[in-house]
């Protein structure tokens, strides 16, 4: 997959370019705002805390996947195996959480370790054995998908009530899912300033330059894929709680939607550009566009069209924004 050569960054991209208006970075939030305004216009009674909570609940699984997928895409890679990891984690959680208690904690640890390990395997294949990420993670997706089918041949399983209660509801009047989302945003902003994040962005911008300036490319990539596996496993657990059951193919829809959300959120598949916050905005855009279509009276069967159009349109928008930026800089 060779995408057209991107313009080389004219300034170091390792650190967030602060206090400088960047047209491209505004696009996902502007899109999201536009959608919310459009929704409010068609359904004024809709915009309430309970509505935000419902939307956050239903988008949260994708949000977890997106954190990992963003990191991988930032290095110029792609992780298709998240689909398999989510399926395994969903299947394991739905069959082994039992009635809650210590058993559940043990299996949570096992599932998260599995995800991390699965990610490390990807990282090893991609970084050490130098297999193209697309094909490497396509293969491991297939392997984990098969494993999930072996664990849970058909949809089923259950979730202990205690877990469901612990994961839903409010703290000080604020729904837990919204608090979790806020926590993720804060953690990302902190992470963004770490050395690791700088190296991730550097590798995505130019692997060779990052290597020459002392970043351990192999180590960083291993960590990034491991994190993607970890978050995919977390997403699988979250899906189990949300739907209170498991499915051996639960993860498959998340492969493409996570990539789509990250790209709508402003990331370049060639690496070096993007961020989890944009990706999260992308995830909400994907969720809300289906709602808007519903409220506009268009059959929900058509909603996928709009997701596809949005994907292509937003990428085109980014190209145009980049072009304007370049012109302005040249002027």
């Amino acid at each position: 997959m060779i995408s057209p050569p991107e313009q080389l960054p004219t300034e170091p991209q390792g650190r967030p370019r602060r206090r400088k208006f960047n047209l491209q970075r505004v696009v996902p939030y502007a899109l999201l705002l536009l959608l919310i305004v459009a929704l409010a216009a068609t359904q004024p009674s809709l915009i309430k805390l309970s509505w935000i909570e419902r939307k956050t609940d239903s988008t949260m699984t994708l949000v977890f996947v997106i954190i990992g997928q963003t990191l991988v895409i930032l290095t110029g890679g792609i992780d298709l195996s998240v689909g398999g990891v989510i399926s395994v984690s969903n299947s394991l959680a739905a069959t082994h959480f039992g009635s809650g208690g210590p058993e559940m904690l043990l299996w949570t640890a096992i599932i998260l370790s599995f995800g991390t390990l699965a990610g490390l395997v990807n990282g090893y294949i991609v970084a050490r054995l130098r297999v193209q990420p697309f094909i490497a993670t396509l293969a491991t997706w297939s392997i984990w998908g098969g494993l999930a089918l072996a664990i849970l041949p058909t949809d089923g399983g259950s979730v202990p009530d205690s877990l469901f209660k612990a994961a839903t509801g409010n703290i000080a009047g604020i729904p837990k899912s919204i608090l979790a989302l806020l926590l993720i945003v804060i953690l990302w902003l902190i992470f963004r300033r770490t050395r690791l994040a700088t190296q991730i962005f550097a590798i995505g911008s130019s692997e060779k330059a990052a290597y020459l300036s002392g970043a351990s490319v192999v180590r960083v990539k291993m960590i990034v894929y491991a994190m993607s596996g970890f978050f995919a496993a977390l997403a699988g657990i979250n899906r189990t709680i949300q739907l209170t059951s498991g499915s051996p193919v639960a993860g498959n829809p998340f492969i493409l939607s996570s990539v789509a959300a990250v790209v709508i959120g402003g990331a370049a598949l060639s690496g070096g550009r993007g961020g989890a916050l944009g990706g999260i905005a992308g995830a909400f855009i994907l969720t809300l566009i289906s709602d808007l279509i519903f409220f506009l009276g268009i059959s929900s069967y058509y909603s996928v069209i709009f997701q596809g159009l949005l994907l292509i349109a937003s990428v085109t928008l980014y190209s145009i924004a980049a072009l304007i930026q370049r012109r302005r800089r040249a002027a």
Binding site: I2, V131, L138, S142, L269, V315
Partner: protein, 317 residues
């Protein structure tokens, strides 16, 4: 055909994947002699051919360094249009088939134009196109079962035989020969490899890179449509989601057959070996009483193994 020899000698990965297919065939036949019967092999070959058709276009696209993720719903669109337009009768085929193939070509053209003219990455463009086609089809049919049964002529194309040889296999052999000739002996073939190796260098050496890239996406959509038509003939009807399995299969067949996802190396003859491997794995499972989950695991392991083998070969050179 002495020009084929050096190619085959250089492509040890392709030989290895044919070897793998052969070993699986021999092992299966040892455990269950009926596996190797002409009748069963014919069935397997027809199954393989459908992956072979889809993977033909994917091979061309991957050789240029791109990828076509819109194959599932392009295939599905062709299948559903076929049953909708013909109403299960042969009369309408005269105009329906050309119309379907032209629409596929248009889909491919839009893919190629978005990628080359707007500079959208192939993953995004074809992923978006896949979603648009899916939404259009699911929306138009309201998620139901559309159209009628397959027209008899299409069923004959997919299931019938002339003088004991299945028509579908005759078609596939013609396509294999045609694709080999194009890739190995024409300017177009050389251009495709050149673009996959280094698009910039290809442009400077006078190749119209945009035109070739648009062509491969059009070609891929048309072969996906062809696969959709034949698959409809094989199962007798069309349904939503019938193309979903063929995305993984098309990419896996190319990878198993030694094609590099980065472009520039690989061959349709390798992809054909890949389709044999994929089909044989599926056929082997019941013999050893293996659950369906094993199939996916084996697919993953084989893809990884062959890719690593290809990479090792490339490093030696």
């Amino acid at each position: 055909m002495s020009a084929l020899r050096p190619f085959f000698l250089r492509s040890r990965v392709i030989l290895a994947s044919y070897g793998l297919a052969l070993v699986m065939l021999v092992v299966a036949t040892l455990f269950r002699p009926s596996f190797g019967s002409i009748e069963h092999l014919r069935t397997l070959a027809i199954d393989a051919s459908i992956i072979g058709f889809v993977a033909l276009g994917q091979t061309f696209v991957i050789l240029t360094g791109g990828i076509d993720l819109s194959i599932p719903w392009t295939l599905n669109s062709a299948a559903i249009l076929l049953t909708l337009l013909t109403g299960g009768k042969d009369d309408a085929l005269i105009w329906a088939v050309p119309l379907i193939l032209s629409m596929a070509a248009l889909i491919g053209f839009i893919n190629g134009a978005g990628i080359t003219l707007l500079g959208i990455s192939p993953v995004i463009m074809t992923l978006g196109m896949n979603a648009i086609l899916q939404g259009a089809l699911v929306g138009y049919t309201s998620g139901g079962r559309p159209g009628s049964t397959a027209p008899p002529a299409i069923s004959f194309l997919a299931q019938g035989s002339i003088g004991g040889i299945p028509v579908d296999l005759i078609l596939w052999v013609v396509i294999i020969i045609g694709a080999t000739l194009i890739l190995s002996y024409t300017t177009l073939g050389r251009s495709i490899y050149a673009i996959g190796n280094n698009a910039l260098a290809a442009r400077f050496s006078g190749i119209d890179v945009r035109r070739v890239r648009i062509f491969v996406y059009m070609f891929s959509a048309v072969t996906a449509a062809l696969a959709g038509i034949i698959l409809t003939g094989r199962i007798g009807r069309s349904y939503l989601g019938m193309g979903d399995l063929y995305l993984f299969a098309s990419v896996a067949a190319v990878a198993i057959g030694g094609g590099s996802i980065l472009g520039g190396s690989g061959h349709y003859l390798g992809t054909v070996a890949g389709t044999f491997v994929l089909t044989l794995v599926a056929g082997l499972l019941p013999i050893f009483n293996l659950p369906a989950s094993t199939q996916q695991i084996l697919y993953g392991v084989i893809v990884l193994g062959m890719v690593l083998l290809a990479r090792g070969r490339a490093a030696e050179r």
